[in-house]
């Protein structure tokens, strides 16, 4: 079986490869076997999954990029602070979320609202183990988002991340501190603890969001 990409040639001295074909080769051989198997044994391609556009915000260091990368089975050992937007298609069993993740540094977060248009849902990530000061900033930002005209009717998934850290506040404490019961009343939101150490739970949290997105879709009578 042939691999899909035998070689790569770039007509520019400015580029250097960090293409690792030796590793890819093995993967691709397995992949080709899989493709062959599928062609012979399956009746056809699976029906396409519905897609939803979601914006992902939260302060710098809250863990947005790490969580999303792991959901895409990507390496997380060389993650650096996001200094703009990162648009990713994150696959789930019964939907694809087109996530627009925005950097959380001060210089970036002042532009968050430029990206709200067209969103169908929001993922807000916070560091449960951050300082009092940072937690307060996170609260301000979450409240801002919950009330923003382009987001206020959308489902929110709030992830109290870094639950694995000893200083992490519990989900109950976060719920109370962020005043979610009064402030988010009438809106559809989910608050869950999360940690990159337990991605199964993270996937489950996202499934709940997808459920809300499906409901909303049916509500607005979209095909």
């Amino acid at each position: 079986m042939h691999s899909i990409c035998s070689s790569f040639f770039l007509d520019s001295r400015l580029y250097s490869g960090h293409h690792h074909f030796e590793d890819n080769d093995k993967l691709l051989r397995h992949y080709m076997d899989y493709l062959c198997f599928r062609t012979l044994c399956c009746k056809g391609p699976p029906p396409p999954r519905p897609e939803y556009d979601v914006v992902c915000i939260g302060l710098t260091g809250s863990g947005k990029t790490s969580l999303l990368s792991r959901l895409c089975s990507e390496a997380t050992d060389n993650i650096v602070p996001t200094t703009g937007f990162s648009i990713k298609a994150v696959p789930f069993p019964n939907a694809i979320l087109n996530v627009k993740e925005l950097g959380g540094a001060d210089s970036i977060k002042k532009y968050w609202s430029r990206y709200y248009q067209g969103s169908q849902g929001v993922v807000f990530v916070l560091d449960s183990a951050s300082s009092e000061e940072d937690l307060e900033v996170a609260r301000t930002e979450l409240h801002s988002a919950l009330q923003h005209p382009q987001l206020c009717t959308l489902p929110f998934l709030i992830l109290a991340n870094h639950q694995d850290k000893p200083a992490a506040r519990t989900v109950q404490e976060i719920k109370k501190y962020f005043e979610l019961e009064p402030l988010a009343r009438g809106k559809s939101w989910i608050l869950e603890g999360s940690s990159v150490d337990n991605m199964e739970a993270v996937k489950e949290s996202f499934s709940q969001l997808i459920h809300l997105l499906e409901e909303k879709d049916q509500e607005t009578g979209r095909i």
Binding site: H2, S7, Y15, N24, Y31, I87, A89, P91, Q117
Partner: protein, 207 residues
């Protein structure tokens, strides 16, 4: 990111255009390139028109069905003491040659990630139109809007390409004629062409 995908200029409702016509215009718009029927011979703008200092720094392709990364390439960071840019070939970095095996043509959904940096002027509306041709035939046109770009930012975007179903015959031809599958990627800021990159493709599995 979902992309708009149409095949013909008539689908999009724009008149056909030729490269010669466009080269005479002072500014080229998205509608202008959507009317092109074949690959251009020349670049429709020069490197100096990239006033927003947009720089592509990484590119990756993965199969959406399995998540397998098919290839990835990164541009090394510029060295301050590097060769004087004027000495380099003016179109270096604007052309990429891809070499795939025939199996690539069987893929249905491919995720292409592009990473780019932006200079210190904010960009209101960044849009890319990419047209793929085999010989004189338009195979597919992709159109996506990145929208707003934060000044001095580094951004990544993965767009899902639904690869067009190709007839056995066409696939055979594409495999037998390497590098006759070509693409033009046009980049617009506020509906004005600022960058134009090109690529060609082999599906025969060899150099």
């Amino acid at each position: 990111m979902r992309v708009k995908q149409e095949c013909n200029s008539s689908d999009v409702g724009v008149p056909c255009t030729t490269e010669d016509e466009l080269l005479k215009r002072s500014a080229i718009s998205p509608e202008d390139v959507l009317g092109l029927q074949k690959i251009t011979e020349n670049y429709l703008c020069g490197p100096l028109e990239n006033v927003y200092n947009i720089d592509f720094t990484r590119f990756k392709i993965r199969d959406m069905e399995t998540g397998t990364v098919l290839f990835e390439i990164t541009k090394p960071p510029p060295l301050e003491s590097a060769v004087n840019k004027r000495d380099l070939e003016p179109n270096a970095g604007r052309f990429v040659r891809y070499q795939f095996t025939p199996a690539f043509l069987q893929l249905r959904r491919v995720g292409a990630t592009v990473e780019f940096t932006v200079g210190d002027i904010p960009i209101n509306n960044f849009r890319m139109i990419e047209r793929h041709y085999f010989r004189g035939q338009l195979l597919k046109s992709f159109d996506f809007e990145f929208g707003f770009c934060i000044p001095s930012s580094k951004n990544t975007c993965e767009h899902i390409y639904e690869l067009p179903p190709l007839s056995e015959e066409l696939m055979r031809e594409m495999i037998l004629h390497p590098y006759e599958t070509q693409s033009d990627s046009f980049y617009f800021v506020d509906n004005k062409l600022v960058m134009h990159n090109k690529a060609d493709y082999s599906y025969s599995g060899g150099p």
